[in-house]
């Protein structure tokens, strides 16, 4: 389990700054601090995220890993009193740049949440929504093509192809989560953020999602927050360990799990706290 699997640098003329041993990172964070009102949630995070690989963010509850994830697509903007400092470069472009419209950013950075949150609309409408609002597909046949492709890539097509007009909320938890992933990849983003995508699912559904993540890795830059050590070890190539708002260490997943550099990481992954 080495970095050999990581594919070559992205095609975009990406940031030379902060290049890690993995080649040009897709996302490069430096000095990220987040405040919720008076309370500081993140302290000077420096982290590079490679393209076409899964990066897992692990750590005990409240350590700031979800907060960091939400910085990448500026979902923290929606929380009143939240303030983000520092730089997060996506393909060399600062996501916190005032001139960057969050709508454009979020079209490039998809997100999957902890609890499956399909819209209370049909399966088709769930997947077609993104392409439609962004004007990726306009005519009905075009939309149908996009929806079919996205559902196929999310491994849901076989199960729902005969009932696309039924409500997305009527699916099982695991199916809903795959529907939500299909919805995210229907607009073909560059990055997919996943915030504990399996925490509400049973082991079988979890296995399916993990398989899916593994398949999607070939095309996307994926960042996943997880509470499950085993899941991080199974799906990710790189792992970053957060503790009390600080990034303790980051590196290839194999290294973090076998030779952690910090005693806190060691304690956490061996189950001594968290």
């Amino acid at each position: 389990m080495t970095d050999a699997q990581v594919s070559p640098p992205a095609l975009t003329p990406s940031a030379a700054a902060g290049a890690s041993s993995d080649g040009a990172p897709r996302i490069s964070a430096s000095g990220v601090r987040v405040f919720y009102g008076e309370k500081q949630a993140l302290f000077d995070i420096d982290l590079d995220v490679p393209d076409r690989a899964v990066t897992a963010l692990i750590g005990p509850s409240g350590c700031g890993k979800s907060t960091f994830l939400r910085c990448i697509n500026r979902m923290n903007d929606t929380i009143p009193g939240a303030r983000v400092e520092g730089r997060i470069l996506l393909d060399g472009e600062d996501v916190n740049d005032r001139s960057l419209d969050p709508v454009l950013l979020r079209a490039r950075v998809g997100m999957v949440f902890q609890k499956p949150n399909p819209f209370p609309k049909s399966i088709f409408e769930n997947v077609a929504y993104g392409p439609r609002i962004h004007g990726i597909a306009t005519s009905r046949p075009e939309l149908e093509g996009v929806v079919e492709q996205a559902l196929k890539r999310a491994g849901l097509w076989k199960e729902v192809s005969d009932r696309l007009d039924q409500p997305g909320t009527g699916l099982s938890g695991g199916q809903q989560q795959r529907l939500v992933i299909a919805r995210a990849i229907a607009i073909n983003p560059e990055v997919i953020l996943m915030d504990e995508p399996c925490s509400a699912l049973d082991p079988i559904a979890t296995a399916r999602i993990e398989e899916l993540i593994d398949e999607l890795r070939a095309q996307y830059c994926i960042v996943i927050v997880t509470h499950s050590m085993a899941q991080a070890a199974r799906v990710s190539q790189r792992t970053a360990f957060f503790h009390m708002g600080r990034l303790v260490e980051a590196g290839p997943t194999g290294d973090i799990f076998t030779r952690p550099g910090d005693s806190r990481t060691q304690d956490y992954i061996t189950g001594r706290f968290g």
Partner: protein
């Protein structure tokens, strides 16, 4: 060492001792709940029962059908409006039941008091339209005077002392004779539903008030719902949370508690005196009620928006939907059932509102059906108020009947609310 936990036998005893009291408390509470519901239902039945008991007889009327000979000696073809048709009819009826008039014509006057003025107007209209009818006979039908109707309905009793009832013994005898001759027939009172207010109870109806209420309510809905929903959506979804929006919110909540008559005063000062909106029109009434309903619609919409799970907003935003798209594609449609309920409740409230409308002049006597937003009109609750103050007894049963019409109107609106809610309700 002290024992922290009782041994298991003790535990049983301890729990069992309190269990009886706990179960008793439970039973007591259920009983109180049932009593409360029974009391509420009892009052409702009492209220509705009283109204129906008082008002149902309005929907039956007693009509007189008779032949009238259009005596050429009494009607001038050149001036048909100059003839006294009421007297003509009364005299012919007297003759028919075999009663001779006295020299002062007081008997025909007494007979005239049993007939609705409508009968005379019908003859006039026919003669005007076709003067060739003079010298011929016409068959006409019209309601009896309200007091005569009350006699047949049993609300004026022959056993009551003569001076305490509006009809004399003689008049009652005549009514019995007319009835025995088969001239009087009872039937459904269509007049009440197809005519507007009148000084004569037997010719008074609620149509004008119903149309006035409907026009006013449509205007209220057209103003209060869009403005209220958009204001609430902006406040809830877009406005920054700061001292100013807090101030706006507090003021909206306070406005919802302002007595409605204050809105009437506002309407009088602003709409009538300053903007010259015609008084007692559905337009001014609708404007006043829209102002009055706005805070309620805003509050209901805001709470409906608050109830939409944040995960839906996050899902849309994370897909790259703009805030406007998020709100209008996802949040507002989910809040729609709640918005509808709030809006229709506030409209139902507006429908029953009287006080502010008195201030903008809707308390006037309007005998016609309003045909425009600016024409003079009355509305159901005010019509009820006017009739309740009338001195004639027959108006009192019409008051109760008008309340029944108002309640039916409200039930229809609530039914519409339920249906709309079902239609738009979605699960998430």
């Amino acid at each position: 060492m002290t024992e922290l936990r009782p041994a298991s036998d003790d535990l049983r005893a301890v729990v069992a001792r309190r269990l009886k009291a706990r179960n008793a408390a439970e039973r007591r509470f259920r009983l109180y709940g049932r009593i409360a519901i029974a009391v509420a239902l009892g009052f409702l039945v009492l209220l509705l029962g009283r109204i129906i008991q008082q008002g149902w007889s309005t929907f039956i009327d007693y009509r007189l059908t008779t032949q009238v000979y259009l005596d050429p000696a009494r009607i001038d073809a050149a001036d048909p409006a100059g003839a006294n048709y009421d007297l003509l009819i009364a005299e012919q009826l007297l003759k028919r039941i075999g009663v001779a008039d006295d020299e002062f014509g007081s008997r025909s006057d007494a007979m005239k008091d049993l007939l609705s003025g409508d009968l005379g107007f019908q003859v006039l209209d026919r003669v005007k339209a076709d003067p060739g009818l003079i010298g011929k006979s016409l068959t006409l039908s019209a309601p009896l005077k309200a007091d005569a109707g009350l006699y047949f309905k049993g609300q004026i009793q022959r056993s009551a002392p003569e001076e305490e009832r509006p009809l004399t013994d003689q008049q009652l005898d005549w009514l019995d004779r007319l009835n025995a001759d088969g001239l009087v027939k009872s039937g459904f009172n269509t007049t009440f539903l197809t005519r507007s207010d009148s000084t004569e109870p037997e010719q008074a109806g609620v149509l004008g008030a119903v149309v006035g209420s409907a026009l006013m309510l449509i205007l209220t809905a057209a103003l209060a719902i869009p403005i209220g929903v958009l204001a609430a959506t902006y406040l809830e979804e877009f406005a920054p949370k700061n001292r100013w929006t807090d101030l706006v919110e507090v003021n909206i909540n306070n406005l919802a508690a302002v007595p409605s008559i204050v809105y009437g005063l506002l309407g009088l000062a602003v709409f009538i005196n300053w903007m010259n909106v015609p008084r007692s029109s559905p337009l001014v009434g609708g404007l006043v009620l829209a102002l009055m309903s706005l805070p309620t619609v805003i509050i209901a919409t805001r709470s409906a928006l608050k109830a939409v799970p944040p995960s839906i907003r996050e899902a849309a935003l994370a897909l790259g939907a703009s805030r406007t798209q998020t709100v209008f594609h996802h949040v507002l449609p989910l809040a729609l059932p709640g918005v509808m309920t709030g809006a229709i409740l506030s409209l139902a409230h507006a429908l029953g509102e009287t006080a502010p409308l008195l201030m903008v002049g809707m308390v006037s006597f309007v005998p016609g059906v309003p045909d425009a937003l600016t024409s003079a009109s009355t509305v159901l609750p005010v019509q009820i108020f006017i009739w309740e103050n009338a001195s004639e007894r027959a108006f009192h049963e019409r008051t109760a009947a008008a309340i029944m019409v108002l309640l039916a109107f409200m039930i229809l609106m609530n039914l519409a609310a339920v249906l709309l809610r079902r239609r738009f309700e979605r699960r998430w």
